[in-house]
Amino acid sequence: MAGRVGIVAVAQTKFEEKKLDKHVTELMYDVTRAVMGQTGLEFKEDGTGIDSTVAAAYDLLHGPSGPYMFLGYVVGAYKREDERVLEDGALAVYYGAMQILSGHCNTVLLVAYTKESLIDKNLYEWVGMDQIYQRRVGLDFVSAAGLQAMRYTTKYGITPEQCAKAVVKARKNAGNNPNAMCCDSLTVDDVLRSTMLCDPIRVLEAKPTPVDGACAMILASEEKAKEITDKPVWITGLGSCYDHHDLGWRDLADCEALATAAQRAYKMAGIKDPLKEFDVAEISEQYSYQELLWSEGLAFCGKGEGGKLIDSGKTEMGGELPINPSGGMLSGLPVCVAGMDRVAECVLQLRGEAGARQVAGAKKAVAHGVDGPAGQLQCVITLEN
């Protein structure tokens, strides 16, 4: 790869259950103006400002008629390059980086926003299942995750306690993150006593919903990034991969797609031993078991060893590779925003600006985003300061 892509600014809103006093454009406005303020970049017609906008948003979740088209002016879409990725925010970073690597743009503004409080998230995700078979029998993303969790925990003997630990860790870490929604000192017992949602997933083991919030960042070409800031964070590797859609067509216990996506990114970045080489990981775990399973896919441990990895404490704050110092999705993040926010959290870590959740001396980080039922589309982005 000739030339690198730098991330020169990031911003996120506070993540809250229902932002009933805020219109979705206000969330977009807050984060985009924040990143523009950090960089001094503006929207200009003479070509000196921001070249392009890439948004990540789910239209069906925000209104019945393609609402992004009517909100784009907030992020300066008028008479400018403006595109929207209909995937998790991590894919918007992935595509934004490509706009720069293609030489087509020098600066790209990325924004992801979601107001889960607008409609019933389960209903919305049910519409994401194939319409002839799986949607007809009423499967949605929660029950798909239930099937995956049961398969995974049974195949590899993962215990409920090991899964619950992911929740306890997430909520504890979230206490250090002023933007996080749920931070409390739960115990493993509290988690295991909570109501069953979809066996073996308990209510506390699922991402809290609804959550509203937004995230934005600015990407720049190597030359431009160095001009804008003295603390750019570089994107060193990118990888994405699709898996089967039909839940019966893949072994749900092995996340092949994530393993492939991770290998693509690691190859580009020259990463050989991810557990040792990375200083911090921010991953998208909507359910407790996913932290364990995604750790395997990201090659932090071998297949079926996700439980052992969390038992070892290596992924705690202060461990060898802290996973989700921010609290991650289990502490409450909106879908779609989550992936971009994972990248943003990594950037804060690599710039040493993560406050109480800072991993001392972090130099290399990996961010992960996911979309689709039971992790069908995976995206991995590696970063370096």
Partner: protein, 158 residues
């Protein structure tokens, strides 16, 4: 909109009827909606060129500056365009498919903002660009801060 082609009967098809309610939080637009409830039409104003916009916008799309000033647009405006639709469309208040008898018009208000509305005059032939129109409101207790709080616009003599 096309001429129908013959449909082969042997393929199985089925429908997913669905009704979704979107709970929109109006946020900064709330003042606009509260204005409608009081029978007043408000618009946001761009601090750079003074352009007023309905629906209110958080930033000016052209100058990228935050719009914080609100301007009362009055109750009257001049007709810009009118048309009648001859096919049924959904009503977002009731969720029902219905025919729309009243022409849909755009008016330029005294305050300079332009907005859509329905017209009391049923005959589009009698509508002339530049006509002075006045808002006719729903009774106050029925207003919800929605577009149809203004029942329709009626032409007024000058």
């Amino acid at each position: 909109m096309s001429t129908e082609e013959k449909q082969e009967p042997e393929f199985i098809q089925f429908r997913y009827p669905r009704q979704v309610t979107y709970h929109h939080a109006l946020g900064y637009q709330s003042k606009f909606a509260n204005g409608l409830k009081q029978g007043r039409i408000l618009a946001t104003k761009c601090p750079v060129d003074g352009r007023c916009t309905i629906p209110p916008r958080i930033v000016c799309p052209f100058h990228h500056v935050r719009q914080t000033e609100w301007v009362d647009q009055g109750q009257r405006g001049r007709l810009i365009s009118a048309f009648k639709i001859n096919f049924p469309m959904f009503n977002s208040r009731t969720g029902e498919l219905q025919n729309w008898e009243n022409p849909i018009i755009a008016v330029e208000l005294e305050g300079g903002a332009r907005m859509d509305g329905w017209c009391a005059e049923m005959d589009p032939e009698k509508l002339k660009t530049g006509m002075l129109m006045e808002a006719v409101w729903r009774p106050e207790e029925e207003r919800q801060g929605r577009a149809d709080d203004i029942l329709y616009w009626k032409p007024v003599e000058e």
